[in-house]
Symmetry: C5
Subunit: 276 residues, 5 copies
């Protein structure tokens, strides 16, 4: 059964996931705008902000995070979400694929993960293989009682070569990807935001009780970024997963303060709901 209702990665039913898998997915080039962001400890420190309800890391940095917490004597850090698969930008592939680099067992038993993440590229010629990988991940996560966040990014030849679709941000494509999160048994789905609120509203109509977050995407202005978050939450969204838009900023705390207000402030009372 779903594991999300009481999950530690939610606060008032919403999430702000600080994602730091860029060293895997894009390599050192992603850290160039702010070189200290290459240092995982820099990002671990940013993750201390109250607005962060989960920090998403690949296996190696998850190990590092736990050691860093121990070194610093931190016991109330952001819950750890371990990404179970990932890929590098170096490989040549016939089409998109993301191999497993961590088992759910290792993530939960050894790293103390409170959630796991998995990327599916529907539309790829390797989609079917990723379904079978996801099946195992999902069922093992159910066994451990940790929620599963699906990074649902339809892309690849099935999208590119289909003239019905305008590309990865086609609202039909994004909504279909979100629906797969529901159908395959994810607890939360992370999708690209097309930039139009009506598209997210449509997406929300397709996913039943599934939690949804937007992916932060490439760096843009505070104002634009906050507006996107606000727009999606207004129509049912549950927050965001954000990386570069936070850790590439000189003063990430400022934006996190604003995000906390947008994401977690109770509309009625105008007050923050506490964690837990």
């Amino acid at each position: 059964m779903k594991n999300i209702s009481e999950a530690s990665i939610l606060r008032n039913g919403k999430s702000l996931i600080l994602a730091y898998d860029h060293g895997t997915e894009h390599g050192p080039v992603d850290f160039e705008p702010l070189p200290e962001s290459a240092n995982p400890e820099h990002v671990f420190r940013v993750g201390r902000h109250d607005a962060v309800t989960a920090i998403a890391l690949q296996k190696g940095n998850a190990e590092y995070y736990r050691e860093w917490e121990e070194d610093k004597g931190i016991s109330n850090g952001a819950p750890l979400l371990v990404k179970i698969n990932g890929n590098s930008a170096l490989a040549k592939r016939e089409d998109y694929y993301s191999p497993k680099q961590c088992s759910v067992q290792y993530a939960v038993e050894e790293l103390g993960a409170e959630a796991v993440g998995y990327t599916i590229y529907a539309g790829s010629i390797h989609e079917d293989k990723m379904w079978e990988d996801f099946r195992q991940v999902q069922e093992e996560a159910r066994k451990y009682g940790v929620p599963v966040v699906m990074w649902s990014y339809p892309r690849g030849k099935g999208i590119e070569e289909n003239s019905d679709y305008s590309g990865q941000k086609d609202p039909e494509v994004v909504a279909y990807g979100a629906r797969l999160g529901l159908e395959l048994g994810a607890d939360m789905v992370k999708c690209k935001y097309t930039g139009r609120q009506e598209d997210w509203k449509y997406l929300e109509s397709q996913v039943g009780d599934l939690k949804t977050v937007i992916s932060g995407g490439s760096k843009r202005s505070d104002k634009e970024f906050l507006q996107d978050v606000k727009d999606t939450i207004e129509v049912g969204g549950n927050g965001l997963a954000v990386g570069r838009n936070i850790f590439q900023r000189e003063e990430p705390e400022k934006l996190l303060d604003k995000l906390e207000e947008v994401v977690f402030k109770d509309e009625d009372s105008g007050e923050f709901v506490q964690n837990g």
Copy 2:
């Protein structure tokens, strides 16, 4: 041994399976004629009708269904049939294939499935792989004592490139697909109806004691649809699996009332046989 004779998904030896895997197989586009059909709870409610002997769902909606039942305090809902495999229309594939997205163990032990379903595309270049997947599914289902329904849809290059066949609805092709249900150890087979009663009669001559249901197919008029069901039952068919022809209707209950009469009314007594 076969698990069908006492199965909860039968009523008087017949079945009406409400199938709701369209979000997986076709995506949001299938819900457009009736937007509320995108909401699984809409379909769960439709499934409360007495005529429904099973509701067929993919893993994620099966989890949702159980939660919904619990929320509503429902204990006598339609038996759950979990589809073990499925695929999206987004992927590009060399030929038809349907990956596993749920294990039989998870379906039965965690979701309380009372039957499982599996799609085989005989004729595809991936047919042999699906046989091996099916073998495991069938044997595991036997272990749990739950019946196996085979969605038997011959298609793909072996059919398209064979000049002996006119296509997926060639009666020889449909009957061969049904026969494979018998040979591979299914308890019930779901096949396309060619529209000609004599073809279904021929099919029935090929399947021994196997239960057969027609697939509902795309939406058509009540009259045409009921006639198809009636025609196949007359020559030995055991009912239908239906999706869009029910959940895309404004008043699905009306058609379900009529179907109940066609499928379950005892010919001799003119009375309904009760469930169980």
Copy 3:
């Protein structure tokens, strides 16, 4: 070690295997000459003849056979030989392959198989994969103490594209296929008969103590068929596996009577040796 000497599928060291896997391998078309042969119960009844030392079925019909025996109260029916692999004629394949559709464990433990069968297409580009499948089947059968019959049918690109061979009935090819039965650890091998006694004699010189049976092949006259059986037994053959030549006849019992005489009558005493 070999499991054949005391095997129930032998009578006086010979076998007559009634094979009924045509619904899998060829589909409904094979039953057209005698439509009732599409009904497994028809063939089960034919298998009641004393001459039949084994009935060879795919998993689904094996399940059916056991139910039919139970329904009829039959306890002394022909021993069941479960075919472990098989394929349909619908699929498009790069070259011949036959996937597993039943495990040895299920065949023996659940279906009470007294022998198992496995098809190898040496010469196919998939030959090596079938070797590895066969290895597992053979070793598991040894564990259960049931004999393994290899359907050894060399075919595919390695034969077709090799100018040294005239085709599947080239005596060198047939004999090599039989030899593989010995080398890979089968207890009995089923081979095509070229129609020339000298070829079978050559084959017998290649197989050590392995049991051999000819495959019945397509339907022909009683006289021709009996002569083939007689000719191969004369030079060391151990009988036949027969399907269409029996179940497509109006009066299969008549031919079975004659076959019983040819296959099982003791040359010296002129009397039948009893089963067991």
Copy 4:
């Protein structure tokens, strides 16, 4: 750790392996020069000669061998070396490969193998897969304490298409193949002999403490054959694995007598060292 020092397949640190896998590898054609050699019992009898320190068989003939020994009441026959993989000449392959046809467990536990053999075709596009197969075989053999003989035959596209190499008998290629025996953990390696003693000397310089034997190859005169064996032993070789050069001779015992002298006679004492 290595299992060779006390191995039963050695006599005075040397080996004469009687190999009889030709029915698998080449088929009946290999037995034509001496038709009775097609009969495994003929070869089993030849293996009774004192000079034979191991008889190498595929699974099926290994089963036969054990039955034959039991029938004849033989308890001191040549130790059995079971070939774990093999292939037929019938298949069409993109490049050389040799599938497993016996598990180490079955070979040791059921057949009483005192050594196992495995063929690697370095240079093939399937080389990497064979490494992984070999890894499992070697580690399982270590568990049982039986030595592993590697048939190391570099061949395939990596050799043919590399202009640095003159072919399978290029001394660099043969020596590299032998070295892989050392690196991958074999106890003994079987290599082709180029016909030049200096090449074998070079090979010996590459293999540390690994035992080496030459493969017998196609049939040639007694004199040439004995000279090859003598030449390789002189520079560190440990004997030979021989098939056709023995079992295709009318009087194999005569050549075995001579081989015994060349391989096992102690240089200093001029006497034979006993087995064990």
Copy 5:
């Protein structure tokens, strides 16, 4: 969690790994400059030098090493690092791949490995498969508490066909490869040195607390080689893995003496720190 801080393969936080996998990776040709280097015992003896903190061997030589130690009564030899994968230069491959030739279990339990090594070729079309292999290796090593050294060598079509990169020594490529060591959970990463100190400094900025060593590469002058080691250590490097630059020298001890000074001498005290 990471296993490196107390690892026996470190001395004062630095490592000098004597690598001897050339017989696998390149074959006999690598030993030609100094023929005795083909003899593993020659290299085992070199490994007795105090400067060596680990000796890296493939499975077969690791077995040999343990026997040699036992023969010689050596109990304080250099810790053994077993390479878990490797490949030969003979095979033809579509792109770079390195198959497993030893299990972690065998390396640790049977060979007493105190560390394991694994090669990843990011950039290859087989990169994803190597990630999954590495995942298992890393998690099994964690279970045993032995550190994992990643040979991180980006190469293959993804590098060659990407015009952004100048090749395997492009500093972005090398740094990305090192970063993958961190992300995937290695304890130490072995990278190519571009020859420019600034590039190694950049690399160090990308790897958090991961240990780094340069690969020795092809043979060059003592002076150049020592300078490379010094330059990388100056900016955070942790030493080197060296093969040909040591074992192809007439007097390897001399260079090892100098390396010991460069790698292990404490900068402040000017004294050597002891092992442990």
